[in-house]
């Protein structure tokens, strides 16, 4: 448990501290230097430069900042939405529960990536998003965030619903009900604390999933848009130079791999430790 946590912490610290530190040392991550393209490692550029002469290390760290921010934000948002759906479905039961669970079942079984590609290609003007927002640099961040939440909320929903079903007929919940506690109060103080541990584990595991999703969409040209750098967009650029500069493709892929691996190992370790019942995630 300690090793994946340290690895993840190291990647996060470097990603968030690296770019400002580099800027202070005079290395700009977007500075183009066409005379120094595809250079090997040097003192100024420890990992060399890319096809436009930009510093690879700096872009790698900045890419990590974007990938991690999106992943953590999306994992938390998906967990929040899923929790709400799961609590409502599990507590109300009846046809609300049946309808919501049919919906999550259907979403889980669908071929998600093809559908996400359609969603990623939508024209935001036709959707009625204000033009100022639709043209800003950050829109690709928000879009990915929305897609990741849309794809990811079902895990938390199923988990919380299951735990709610088990808990809602326990004596302490009945006691609270007979004392006149309202539904929101019961859900918040009596049921939610009982699902917190598996929920935290699932959220840790889903951070890795979001990083993979972001990287594949960015790789296909549908995710983060230039000038922002993410690991996926770096790989997408490197693909064209795969035979002449293979290292440009190796670095960002290795970063994705290590980060996702650390998230998965951490989630698994948490599960082993706190939640032995659910040793395998369905």
């Amino acid at each position: 448990m300690r090793l994946p946590f340290l690895l993840l912490a190291a990647i996060a610290v470097m990603s968030f501290a690296g770019p400002p530190l580099g800027a202070a040392l005079g290395v700009d991550l977007n500075a183009v230097d066409l005379l120094d393209r595809l250079a090997g490692p040097s003192r100024l550029h420890p990992l060399g430069t890319d096809e436009l002469g930009r510093d690879v290390l700096m872009r790698l760290l900045a890419g990590g900042r974007i990938s991690l921010t999106i992943a953590i934000a999306a994992a938390l948002a998906a967990a929040a939405i899923g929790t709400l759906v799961g609590l409502v479905a599990g507590y109300l039961g009846g046809w609300t529960d049946r309808a919501m669970m049919r919906l999550t079942d259907a979403i889980i079984a669908l071929p998600l990536l093809p559908l996400l590609i359609v969603l990623a290609a939508l024209d935001l003007n036709k959707l009625g998003v204000p033009a100022a927002l639709a043209r800003s640099d950050d829109i690709s961040l928000l879009r990915i965030l929305a897609l990741a939440v849309l794809a990811g909320w079902t895990t938390a929903a199923r988990l919380v619903r299951g735990a709610t079903l088990v808990t809602r007929n326990r004596d302490f919940v009945r006691a609270a009900k007979s004392l006149g506690a309202g539904v929101p109060h019961i859900l918040w103080t009596h049921i939610l604390p009982n699902v917190l541990v598996p929920l935290i584990v699932a959220t840790a595991l889903s951070v890795g999933d979001v990083i993979l999703l972001e990287s594949v969409l960015s790789f296909l040209g549908l995710g983060i848009q230039p000038p922002l750098a993410s690991w996926g967009t770096m790989l997408s650029n490197a693909q064209e130079l795969i035979t002449s500069a293979p290292l440009l493709a190796i670095y960002p892929g290795a970063m994705i791999f290590l980060t996702v691996l650390a998230c998965n190992l951490l989630g698994d370790a948490l599960q082993q430790r706190f939640d032995r019942r659910a040793a395998v995630r369905a």
Binding site: A106, I108, A109, L110, P111, L112, L113, P114, L115, I117, V118, L119, A121, L122, D123, K126, L127, G208, L212, S215, V216, F219, L220, L235, Q239, I242, T243, P246, A249, I250, G253, I256, F257, V260, L261, C263, N264, L265, D268, A279, V280, A282
Partner: protein, 317 residues
């Protein structure tokens, strides 16, 4: 059983109708529209021409009316004309569906066989060195971005060693079986490696549970051989939970196939969907997305039926 299948088929049809409307509406929200594309191709076209064309093709009608017109045509077997392929949608779709099913089928069978072997080996000696090693390999497989794995495989086996072709489905002009097979190796390997980690973990968990049961101890006490205990007694009960999880993984297999096909320029459904969406080929994108959905849901149904067949305690009434 028949009643269960019938209900599931009706459910699948209902989801399909819903999905077809959602996808139809979404495709209408993609950038540009067919008449704008025609105008780009022919600058002499006037605004009056455009309005007339829109009326001819019914594009000035409300969304739901257009959808009903499309579904009436589609039910009559006419899915329209593909802009990218300059051919009816059906004739672009079917050969690619076949290619994809071949790729996914081979990878699925291969990954399942390997997962059954590895998962059982790991479950027999929990926390042994072998178990730890297999577990690590699984985590590596689950954490590997599919497209990066494909890149690395191309780099090593196609660009570096030159053993295998990097893309396509056959060398131009070559018609022999070996050539087809050589083109399949890297895509199948990618998709297999991408799914094997998850499958193995499920098999291991199910197998551990199965090996803990009383009837296994009974079988051992009776003096059954280890092979018989594993293959005859434990495997059967372990396969039941595995089937459920495999059913849910078909959607993931289609997603993995999309990435793999795009990376290897393999002419399958995944690459077709990607190209159709990127190339504003509305008819093709719509039909291909729906076909991918139907295939996934039918595979799910097949897994559900296999579940009943594997476990006599389950009855679909």
């Amino acid at each position: 059983m028949i009643r269960f299948t019938a209900i599931r088929l009706i459910e699948i049809a209902a989801i399909l109708v819903l999905m077809s409307f959602v996808i139809y509406a979404l495709i209408g929200l993609m950038p540009g529209d067919p008449i704008d594309l025609m105008r780009q191709a022919d600058p002499r076209m006037s605004t009056a021409d455009m309005a007339r064309l829109k009326a001819v093709y019914g594009l000035n009608q409300p969304l739901f009316a257009r959808y009903l017109a499309w579904i009436r045509q589609a039910l009559g077997g006419d899915l329209g004309y593909s802009r990218l392929f300059a051919a009816p949608v059906w004739s672009a779709l079917l050969p690619r569906l076949g290619n994809s099913l071949l790729l996914m089928g081979l990878s699925f069978v291969l990954a399942l066989m390997l997962a059954l072997g590895l998962g059982t080996a790991a479950a027999r000696r929990p926390n042994s060195r072998l178990d730890t090693a297999i577990n690590l390999v699984c985590f590596a497989g689950v954490s590997m971005p599919t497209f990066w794995l494909a890149l690395v495989l191309i780099l090593v086996f196609a660009a570096g060693l030159g053993w295998l072709p990097a893309s396509g489905i056959a060398t131009a002009g070559a018609r022999d079986f070996g050539d087809r097979l050589a083109h399949l190796v890297l895509p199948v390997a990618t998709l297999t490696l991408a799914s094997i980690g998850g499958y193995t973990r499920y098999v291991r968990a199910a197998m551990r549970e199965a090996l803990d049961q009383d009837h296994i101890r009974t079988a051992r006490a009776k003096g059954a051989s280890e092979a018989r205990v594993i293959l005859h007694h434990a495997m059967r009960s372990a396969l039941i939970p595995v089937t459920t999880i495999l059913a849910l993984s078909f959607g993931g297999l289609v997603s993995g196939a999309l990435v793999t096909e795009t990376m290897f320029a393999y002419p399958g459904m995944g690459k077709l969907i990607f190209d159709a969406v990127m190339g504003n080929d509305y008819n093709l994108a719509l039909a291909a997305l729906l076909l991918a959905t139907v295939t996934t849901m039918l595979a799910n149904l097949a897994a559900d039926l296999a579940y009943g067949w594997l476990d006599p305690r389950v009855s679909y009434r």
